[in-house]
């Protein structure tokens, strides 16, 4: 049995066994997990966290693997978290995991973890954020967080990322495209994967049109400030150059990839780097860190407050109260006030 100090030392020394044990502890979410995260927290804040999201069929997993290889080619270490919020009960994540394992297995610079929903979605988003902290403390240079889908679930999980990539692919149907409009606001980079397929240019055009309707694209029409390395992209001269704008905004680039052949992946990797530089050069990094800290603090406070309330009430009182609500003997608001009063919290 490792003590907390031994576990932290093992993880910080880069030992695989300490890392796996730390992640298991964090996923179990007990008091030990909180002590561990508290001990690891000062060692976090160095890794670049990249969220990758997109509808099923866009080839996200293949893209994440290809991106991991591109980072390895630069000598950077990569932690991958594959989150499947669409699979609340079983299975989905594990299958993807096996495919991924075959691809990247045996590389000591890559660590892969699959996570499926246990309990609520909020719980998943939080567990993901905690596992990111562990990988960050363990010294991984890049942490890739892949989530299935483009709904609110992914928005919440992606809020833990520094850079969010939204992946599209040609020919997934119009209704799917319409839904994606909702994630325009969270994308720092767009990828049109499977770019060798028919309709790829149409998908790029559709994204450019969506951007044309967004305030960010209207703001800056001149090329971005010099000094950044800007990867090559074919784009019409009538569009603003993507990336950092003169007014400090960020216009998401649209990058074509064929992940199965690795095409466009180096450019994607360079754009991620550029976005990281943009975050550090502006107040955006501090803003994202603040929002993340506020959210983490709020979750922890709610949990602790719930425990404090339960400790001040007779055992089974809250469950019994829920039963009276279910029978319509009392409404939930009145019942809540009664419980708080009984616990001496409503003076």
């Amino acid at each position: 049995m490792m003590t907390l100090t031994e576990l932290v030392s093992s993880l910080l020394a880069g030992h695989r066994r300490g890392l796996a044990r730390a992640i298991s502890q964090v996923e179990d979410d007990g008091p030990e997990a909180h002590a561990l995260l508290a001990a690891l927290y000062p060692h976090t804040g160095r890794g670049h966290v990249v969220g990758v999201t997109g509808a099923p069929g866009t080839g996200k997993s293949t893209l994440v693997n290809a991106l991991a290889r591109a980072y390895r080619a630069q000598g950077l270490t990569v932690g991958i978290i594959a989150v499947d919020p669409t699979s609340p009960f079983s299975g989905g994540a594990l299958l993807g995991d096996r495919v991924r394992m075959r691809d990247l297995a045996g590389d000591p610079g890559v660590f892969i973890r699959s996570m499926a929903t246990r309990g609520s979605l909020g719980g998943l988003a939080r567990a993901t954020a905690d596992v990111i902290l562990v990988l960050d403390a363990a010294g991984f240079d890049r942490i890739l967080v892949e989530t299935v889908g483009v709904g609110q679930a992914e928005v919440e999980i992606a809020s833990a990322a520094h850079t969010t990539i939204v992946v599209e692919a040609p020919g997934l149907g119009d209704e799917v495209q319409a839904i994606k409009a909702g994630v325009l606001e969270i994308a720092d980079l767009f990828v049109v994967n499977k770019a060798d397929r028919e309709g790829a240019d149409h998908a790029v055009l559709a994204l450019q049109m969506m951007q044309g309707l967004a305030p960010a694209a209207v703001r800056g029409l001149a090329p971005a400030a010099a000094g950044h390395h800007r990867p090559e992209r074919g784009r019409g001269a009538d569009h603003a150059e993507p990336g950092a704008q003169p007014d400090g905004a960020w216009l998401p680039p649209i990058i074509k990839t064929v992940a199965t052949r690795g095409e466009g992946v180096a450019a994607l990797r360079d754009w991620i780097q550029l976005h990281g530089a943009y975050l550090r050069a502006t107040d955006q990094l501090a803003r994202r860190e603040s929002a993340r800290a506020a959210s983490a603090l709020d979750h922890i406070l709610c949990d602790r407050l719930r425990s404090i309330l339960l400790a001040r009430l007779p055992e089974g009182q809250v469950s019994a109260c829920a039963e009276t609500i279910a029978r319509r003997d009392v409404d939930p608001y009145t019942a809540a006030a009664q419980l708080l009063s009984q616990a001496g919290l409503l003076q």
Copy 2:
């Protein structure tokens, strides 16, 4: 300005203006909303709440409209809530709303409300549950809650429903099918819509195979207990009959529909009725009501506890604390303990 008593009277009397105002108040989620929900709560618990979920492209909205018409043909009133968790920022729900309005407009026995995400997903699930209560109190016989997608988001929203329908359609691709495996556990009824298209039988077969792998289908192989009206369905004799099983379990039926032409919709309506009878005849209804009450109570308690904590701390203290966490001066667990101690909640 209506008083609370006037508003409640207007709503219970079936006035459209009182209903619309009540829903707006509930969506605003202020102290007034809580007083209103407390007053309405004793009048709830009568409507049958039906959740309808499925991937984009399955024709859910058309199906919900057709189902509403089938209920109207029986003289039942219908409230429809269209929830779009994939559209956190704008738009999506409103478009669908307009299509729907054209279809069912002018029928006083139908009320339609669209809801898009504001803030967190948890907030949306809760607001949806509150609007269901309002429609229930207003006396609607059936309340149809339509959500886009089949992820954890929809699982949480669907947890407010008595009967959950998962809609599929042929030809949406294999990966989409794989994802749907995760919602097998929440489905009370499966619908294969667009059943006139190629691949419909394949979709039915795929669902039957999934059921064959699930414990519920293995449990009961004999026909269900007699006494229930059982709508006609073509199904191989080597399968257990869907519906209530001898051991009290429920095997979800698979119903083929062509919603655009209304085909299969009456059968769907009858199956929903049968599932409602099953819930009442077993302990399932009480169980679902208890789980729902416990969840509502927990949400309200967390909100109230947060307010109590904030009232005991100097203004801005929690935000300032989040900043120190973002700067890595302190970890969030230690910071939370300090705040609770300062508020006098940790004796």
